[in-house]
Every structure is written in C-alpha cells, then in structure tokens.
C-alpha cells in the first residue's frame, strides 16, 4: 500500500511535467508548423474566410493545381519577385555585421578586460547607454547625413549602422568572457615567447571559443531579424529578407502575393533552425558560466 503512494507521486509529477512540456511544445511550435504546412497551399485554402478546414483538406489547391501541395508560393517569391536577391543581401549583411562585430568586440573586449585603467568602466557604461536606446533613434539621426552624403540605400550603410547598434552588446558579452579567463594565461604565453597579440590569438581566443560563438550567434540574429534599420536605410534593390517579406504583405491586391509572404517567412526561418542546431553545443557551454576555465 505504502509503496504505491510513494511511487504514485513521482509518477504524477512526471506525467504533469511531460504533459506541460508537450503542451508548451505545441503552443510554441504550432504556429510555425501551421505556416510550413500552409505555405504549400494556395491563398484560397490557407486564407479561406468560409472554412478554415480548407487549409487542411486543400480542396482549392487540388482544384487550381491538380495536387494537394504546391510550390507556387515559393516559385513566386523566389523567382518572380526576386526573393533570392533579398536572401543574398541578408547573407551579405548578416555575415558582415557578425564578422565586424566579433573582430572589434574581441579586440576591444580583451583590451578592456586586461586594462587596469579606470576609464574602461566608463567606456563600458557609455556602451550600455547606447545599447539601451531604441534602434530607431539611431536611424533617424543618421537619415539626413546619409542622404546628404548620398550613401543612403546601400548595403554598407546598413551594415555600419547595424554594427554600431550591435557593438555595445558584443563588447559587453566578450568583455565578461575575457574577464573569466585568468590573466596568468596570457602572461605565461608572453613569457613563453608570444607577443601580446600572439598570446591573444593562440592562447586566449581558443579558450574563449564558446564565448565567441555565442556572441557571434546573437550578433547574427540581430542583423538577421532587424527591421527598423534595414527597412529605413535600404532601397528597393538592396532589401534584405525581413523588409522584403513586409513588402509582400503590403501588396495583397494581386491574388497569391500573400502566399509569397508565407513562403518567404518559412524560407527565412529554416536557416535559423539549422544554425542553432549546428552550434548548440558551443552555445550551451558559452552560456554556462565557468565553462571556459581550465
């Protein structure tokens, strides 16, 4: 008798927690799965006003294309409406922003972490203030000079602004990672025959790698998901994916254009999943404090 009561409680607990997890997973994953599913339908099905079940059965899709699934949305978005160009621009912007942020962030964060001067604190505080500002304030400040200098609309302009927005965060994050690495490590490297920079490159950075990956991923996501800066600063030709999707949604007059947006949304989300999957080990150890210590 007693045995069962003792056993029942953990059972109850584990069932509840599993149920909760499943529920949470459904709530979190459903919108995405629903969108993936719907992206292979036509607008009359996925955005049907009369009957939402059409999205599942796909009667109109069968009627219009002859099969239950269609790649029309993707075809339209990627080829007709040049979404591939937006995707390419996104690659350029995100890779540049991540690379520049990491180069400046590791060098600056290392210098600040190893400097004994008192003004390092003030540099970091100032950086925090800039980080706290809404992105749009930076953009509105930049608008006029960019028009005057005739650099508005170009990719490098957006890259520079995004780096400016992201740098404080990258600096803070990397700075605290560097602080967690004992100074003895660089010092023994320098006695062993390294210059300061070699010690940084050959000894400190390899130990720091999870921190660099984590910071890089967050920088990447910021650039990838940005709307405020890219929508305001890029002209039609140079648009990245997020403003491009927004512009699909803005042109719903043409039948099917909204399906372009759905297909584009799915296309823009998949790489993120792959990225997180690929780097998950580094991210976990980067987010776990103390992981970098020997």
């Amino acid at each position: 008798m007693e045995q069962t009561t003792v056993n029942r409680r953990p059972l109850l607990l584990s069932t509840t927690s599993s149920l909760f997890l499943v529920l949470w997973l459904i709530v979190a994953a459903f919108p995405f799965l629903w969108t993936v599913w719907g992206s292979f339908k036509v607008e009359a099905d996925f955005f049907s006003r009369e009957n939402w079940q059409l999205a599942i059965t796909g009667l109109n899709t069968i009627g219009q294309t002859g099969s239950a699934f269609t790649g029309d949305g993707y075809q339209g978005a990627w080829i007709e409406r040049d979404f591939w160009k937006a995707a390419w621009n996104t690659v350029i912007v995100t890779v540049s922003v991540t690379a520049i942020s990491l180069v400046l962030g590791t060098l600056g964060g290392y210098a600040l972490a190893r400097s004994a001067r008192r003004y390092t604190l003030w540099i970091l505080i100032t950086a925090l203030v800039f980080r706290a500002m809404p992105h749009i304030t930076l953009v509105s400040g930049y608008m006029l000079p960019f028009f005057e200098w005739n650099v508005w609309g170009a990719l490098p302009t957006a890259i520079i602004v995004l780096v400016a927005i992201n740098q404080p965060f990258a600096l803070w994050m990397l700075h605290s990672f560097f602080l967690s690495i004992p100074k003895d490590l660089d010092e023994s490297a320098m006695v062993d025959g390294c210059t300061r920079f070699q010690a940084f490159r050959q000894v400190v950075i390899p130990v720091m790698w999870p921190g660099v990956i984590t910071t890089g991923l967050f920088s990447f996501l910021l650039a990838y998901n940005d709307f405020a800066v890219t929508a305001m600063l890029l002209n039609q030709d140079n648009q990245t994916m997020v403003p491009k999707i927004a512009s699909f949604l803005g042109t719903v007059q043409t039948e099917g254009a909204v399906m372009y947006a759905v297909a584009a949304v799915v296309s823009a989300t998949v790489p993120l999943f792959m990225l997180v999957m690929f780097f998950q080990r580094q991210i976990v150890s980067g987010l776990t404090a103390g992981a970098v210590k020997g």
Binding site: D184, E187, A189, V191, Q202, V203
Partner: protein, 352 residues
C-alpha cells in the same frame, strides 16, 4: 645562463610603493630564494624581472643586456606561475611544446625536446591528457616541464608549491632542487615558507614591506640575522627577542640578567637568542621566571616564559616536566646572544 643584476629597482603605483630600492646581484647558476611575508613585494620583483610589470626606476640586467625596455618574450626567461597558467585547451604534450613552438625551434627537434622534459618531470604517461584531467601535483609538474623544455637564461618560480599538500610539497621540493642542480640554470624562487627557502637556496633574500632585509646563505641568515625582523621571521620557533637595557656588558630586564656581553654598548637594547641555545641549569647569570606554559613536541619540550614583558620559548629535553607557575632557571651563554639596536632593530657589532 647568466648572472642577473638589479640596480636600485623600485616599483610604485601612484603613492603605493611595492618594491623599494631593490639592489641585488645574482651569480650565474645560483639558486636564489626571495623570502618574506605576504604582500612584501616578492611577486612584484619577479614579475619585473620577467617583464610583466614595468619598473618605476632602476635597471635590470640579464647577463650583459639591460632588459628594462624588452618585452617578456625577448628576455629569455621561463616562469612557473603560482596558479600554473597551463593552457586548458591543449594536452600536456602541447603545453610543454608551446614555448619551443612559438620560438620557432625547428620542427624536427620538438618531439625529442618535449620527451626529454617530460621524462625529467616524470610525465611521460600523461602526455595526451588535458590539464583539467590532472591532479594538482601533476599540473605543477607540467608547468615545470614547460619551463625546462628550452634552456632559458633564468628560471623564475613564484610559489610553485603553495597549492600542494604537505607530503607532495616535500617530494616536489627535492625534485626542483635536483633539477636545478642538473640544469645549472640561474633560478629565482619566491616563497613565504622559510623551510622551502632554507632547503633550496644557495642564498636567501629576506624581504619586508618592499625592502631587502638581508641577503645571505641560509645558515648565515639563521645564525646572524641582520635585524630584528629577520630574527623574528626565521626559525621555528623564531628567535626570542627581549627589550631591556645594557650597561658595561650586563643586560637586564624583568626576570633576566646576562653578564659578559660586549661592553661598548649602553642604554636601551634588544637582546635575542634562540630557544635551543638556552640551557636548563641553576646559575646566577640567566633567566629566573615562572613557567607560563609547557608544550610537549615529542623530540623535545618547549617551555614558555614571561620575560621582560614578552613571551619567550626555551627548548628543553623531552623528559623535562614542570608545573605551570613553578620557577625555573635558565642559563644562556653570552656568545649565543645577539644584540640589536632598540630603535632601528639593526644588528649591533658583537666584538667584545
């Protein structure tokens, strides 16, 4: 391999003085130990020699080069850090190899040199492990192996044994001594443990508050301390120091009277003698005081007495027993006494 000279080296941070007027000449192949209490500037001195800390004034010479302005990598020193400073992402093998790799020693020689160093520090079985998978003593030996893999001008070791347990400390101490004897490289070794200093050193530099107190061989420091600081720091127990007055060769204070001392001094003075230099016997010329406490140490007994307002220790045979409060008489040979200036604490001339 070379001699090292430090000419009036000072280190200041703003108004804080870390090392003051450090003047030292270290001979080639010498094993020199910097000894002093915590915060006396030992590490700072060593870090200035390694180039990890700028000197505020003075000159550092390694061999015939003035190295004040040189980067650490150009000074040709090897250093063992107190916390080892091993590279956590590299194996033991790569750790030991790192100095010769960055110094561009030809690749063909790497393996042979690493293996030789690993054998010397007895690490051959651990070469593929990461530092995190080693015990404290093994990590210590990796740090040592990394230091000896090339032949530097000088070895610097900053309290390398402080993280080891007592037993391991004794054996590693012997290893270091043996290693230095074989390699014949000038070595500077920092410690606050006087037993380490006494057993390892050719010469000891006793430091306090950033200043050199005495530079001498271990025996000399024990037998003829240069001032009351050294006398009170070296030895276990430290030298008994009693404040009193001297008049024509007779020292006196509460419960003590010693005749036959040098007669050229007079006035207030500090008298020192070691616990083992006292003899238990009924004499006039000595200490007469009640027993304050008794400690039985196994090989001997330690008697604590209150003399001249200070607690002093006397070493007695192991079978000696006395009640607390009972009177004892202790004789001290005047030739075993040390005299120090009451003001400055400096040693006074002992000639009669």
């Amino acid at each position: 391999m070379a001699e090292i000279r430090l000419n009036n080296v000072c280190k200041r941070w703003g108004k804080v003085s870390g090392v003051d007027n450090f003047d030292l000449h270290i001979k080639d192949e010498e094993f020199l130990v910097l000894l002093g209490p915590s915060g006396c500037g030992k590490s700072t001195t060593m870090r200035m020699i390694a180039g990890l800390e700028d000197v505020s004034s003075g000159e550092i010479w390694l061999g015939d080069r003035m190295v004040n302005k040189l980067e650490p990598k150009d000074r040709d020193v090897s250093m063992v850090f107190q916390s080892y400073g091993l590279y956590p992402n590299m194996t033991v093998y790569e750790n030991i190899r790192f100095p010769i790799k960055v110094r561009k020693v030809p690749k063909e020689l790497h393996h042979e040199q690493v293996m030789k160093a690993a054998e010397m520090v007895d690490l051959v079985d651990f070469l593929h492990r990461k530092p995190a998978e080693l015990s404290g003593g093994q990590r210590q030996r990796v740090a040592l192996g990394r230091a000896i893999v090339r032949k530097p001008t000088v070895f610097l070791m900053d309290e390398p044994l402080s993280n080891l347990d007592a037993k391991l400390r004794v054996s590693t101490r012997a290893e270091i001594k043996n290693l230095q004897f074989r390699l014949k490289t000038t070595t500077i070794y920092v410690t606050h443990d006087q037993i380490e200093a006494m057993t390892l050193a050719d010469r000891v530099v006793v430091m306090n508050l950033g200043r050199i107190q005495q530079i001498a061989t271990p025996t000399e420091i024990y037998d003829n301390p240069a001032n009351t600081f050294v006398a009170g720091f070296i030895g276990n127990p430290a030298m008994n120091l009693i404040k009193g007055t001297i008049e024509s060769g007779v020292f006196s204070a509460e419960n003590i009277r010693i005749e036959g001392l040098p007669s050229q001094h007079s006035g207030p003075i500090t008298l020192g003698f070691r616990a083992e230099d006292a003899e238990l016997k009924e004499v006039q010329n000595a200490i007469n005081a009640p027993v304050y406490a008794m400690e039985l140490l196994g090989d001997s007994s330690m008697i604590a007495l209150m003399v001249g307002g200070e607690l002093i220790n006397i070493k007695a045979p192991k079978d000696f027993r006395a009640e607390i409060g009972s009177q004892v008489s202790i004789g001290i040979n005047p030739s075993h006494c040390h005299l120090f200036d009451a003001e400055s604490g400096d040693r006074l001339s002992q000639d009669i």
